[in-house]
């Protein structure tokens, strides 16, 4: 099935309580699949087509604030519209899932795949000091697998999580093993897992309040310090990445998502030509696998950041290796996916 369809099926199967979204290419299949599957008749999952991405993300805020497993999906321009809501979600420490099947920008851009939302996602597209747990799938299987993982991480840390995919993986068809069925939580389970949630004052407990507002500076600083402490724990515990042929690599490609798929082809061509290339694929874009990249940076002669954008992640790689090894960028823009041959050529240049 398509990557977008895998997201929808995985959501139904992992106990998701609600989906709120607005159509946008190239991810509309998520909402379309959910509408066709009618999960409200089986698991009781709510599916609602909102009037805008702004409404969608705020519906997610409402649902998340009441402790439910809720999600939305969109593509780049729609995710731009959601940034205010994402900042509020992060500020109010609400767990939820946002899927970005990104496309080329800026502006209305193109409907073709792109990775140009890297900065927006990992550097905070909205206002304030916040971080999004970001998972970057490189296959339809991972589209399916990361839905539950994203929810698990989001609830563990009370933080919004994003799946940053792209139009290629969203539209691509591959075989996929759907995750095992997991029932939605009961009201009791929810109240136990989320004692902070605004569910109504069950058992006449004290009122719960979900807000990101703290007018007194000292109080707001405390909120921020708490967030930063949480982010530090996430950075220590939740870094995920895949390595491919790095053992003997003299050159390293760092690439995520679609670009990582191309990289494997690049590596096989380059190795045929006698250039020992390996791949580090960040699975979590935030937290970023800086430590591992720094370690590999000590062993290789050069690093190529392959991105389907104008060079964004390359900055984080340079920070990771502290410029101790040359770090180059290569990529294509406007929705064009680089051909393996042109990437091999870039690596060849690095060897000269």
């Amino acid at each position: 099935m398509k990557g977008n369809e895998a997201i929808a099926h995985a959501a139904i199967r992992c106990g998701c309580d609600g989906y709120f979204g607005y159509p946008i290419t190239p991810q509309s299949e998520v909402l379309e699949t959910l509408a066709a599957e009618k999960p409200w008749e089986t698991t009781g999952m709510v599916v609602l087509q909102a009037e805008s991405e702004v409404a969608s993300i705020n519906m997610v805020y409402g649902g998340a604030a009441s402790g439910k497993r809720v999600m939305t999906s969109s593509s780049s321009p729609g995710v731009s519209l959601m940034q205010e809501g994402i900042s509020y979600l992060a500020g109010a420490e609400l767990p939820c899932l946002i899927v970005n099947v990104s496309r080329g920008g800026p502006g209305l851009g193109t409907i073709q795949p792109s990775q140009a939302d890297y900065f927006q996602t990992v550097k905070g597209g909205g206002h304030g000091d916040y971080r999004l747990i970001t998972l970057a799938p490189a296959s339809v299987q991972e589209m399916a697998d990361f839905v539950d993982l994203a929810f698990e991480l989001a609830f563990r840390y009370r933080n919004p999580a994003m799946i940053l995919s792209d139009g290629a993986i969203g539209q691509m068809m591959e075989k996929v093993v759907l995750p095992p069925f997991k029932p939605r939580r009961t009201e009791e389970e929810l109240a136990k897992e989320c004692p902070w949630a605004t569910t109504g004052r069950i058992g006449m407990r004290k009122p719960n309040i979900i807000t990101s507002l703290a007018l007194v500076s000292e109080e707001m600083e405390r909120v921020n310090l708490r967030l930063q402490a949480k982010y530090k724990v996430i950075q220590e515990k939740e870094v995920r990445y895949e390595e491919y042929m790095t053992d003997d690599a003299e050159y390293l490609i760092v690439a995520f998502g679609s670009a990582a798929r191309i990289s494997k082809k690049v590596i096989s061509i380059a190795r045929e030509q006698g250039i020992k290339v390996g791949l580090l694929r960040p699975i979590t874009l935030w937290p970023f696998p800086s430590k591992r990249i720094a370690e590999l940076g000590k062993k290789v002669k050069g690093i190529l950041s392959l991105e389907i954008n104008a060079g964004q992640m390359v900055e984080d790689i340079r920070l990771a290796v502290e410029c101790k090894v040359p770090v180059k960028w290569y990529g294509r823009l406007g929705g064009i996916i680089p051909e393996p041959e042109e990437v091999v050529e870039e690596i060849r240049k690095m060897t000269l």
Binding site: A55, N58, G63, S66, G200, P207
Partner: protein
């Protein structure tokens, strides 16, 4: 009979509603918000819904409503309260879900969310405080500011050529198929307050009966930014606001 004999607990005929806690409200002296807060607190308790209410506060003067009424609250981004409420009610169908919003929040930045939530027939209530001005930010022109009315961003009076016309949100809501109950009330007198309370109760009940969306507009004063005493503001409202925003039920499909 001595004062002490009268002031016995069994003789209490009115007191601050139990759900309205002791936190001093930040509203200006004489602000209509306080009265509406009392009514909301009374109705929730009288309906026995204290443990089943999820309320949404806006951005504006009522942003801190969550500090005063002892139910679960979510504080929304500016204008988005009806989107939050839509999701919450769908996810928790047996809960009493309402938003509490001002004219800037509901009729300007959140017009889209308001109209679509009402039109979808979400089983929620929107309580809409319309005082024709932005209170929190210091008295700027609102979408509901009357023609000729002076604010700090229309200091020479609102004129349609420059500022467009005041927006009658309740009248728009009437035409939406999803709305069950649309009413315009006020809290400037004892009689008006009693009627407003009944309207809030009716709206809450309709929402719990799954009859659709409900809009309770409360035409209110902002004596501070109108630059009047609370009493004069009430009189000014009667003379100037009521002719343009007439009180009464506009739609009752319950």
């Amino acid at each position: 009979m001595t004062k002490e004999e009268i002031m016995q607990p069994e003789n209490i005929v009115y007191r601050k509603p139990e759900l309205l806690n002791d936190v001093p409200m930040h509203y200006c002296p004489g602000c209509s918000h306080g009265v509406v807060h009392k009514l909301v607190a009374e109705v929730i308790a009288e309906m026995g819904m204290t443990d089943k209410t999820i309320a949404i506060s806006p951005v504006g003067c009522a942003v801190f409503a969550y500090k005063y009424i002892d139910v679960d609250w979510q504080e929304a981004a500016h204008g988005r309260a009806p989107a939050l409420a839509s999701a919450v009610k769908r996810l928790w169908p047996d809960r009493l879900v309402f938003t509490y919003q001002g004219d800037g929040d509901l009729a300007c930045i959140g017009t889209g969310e308001t109209i679509h939530a009402l039109n979808r027939g979400e089983n929620i209530t929107i309580i809409f405080i319309n005082n024709a001005i932005y209170g929190m930010t210091g008295g700027q022109m609102a979408p509901t500011t009357l023609l000729g009315m002076k604010t700090v961003t229309c200091p020479y009076g609102r004129v349609p050529e420059l500022h467009g016309y005041p927006l009658k949100m309740a009248d728009i809501a009437v035409g939406l198929q999803g709305t069950c109950y649309v009413t315009r009330q006020s809290v400037h007198s004892v009689a008006a307050i009693m009627k407003a309370k009944k309207a809030i109760r009716k709206a809450f009940e309709y929402s719990m009966q799954g009859k659709g969306s409900n809009l309770v507009e409360i035409v209110s004063t902002c004596n501070t930014n109108w630059r009047m005493s609370p009493d004069k503001a009430n009189k000014w409202m009667e003379e100037n606001m009521f002719p343009f925003y007439p009180l009464g039920d506009l739609k009752d499909n319950g």
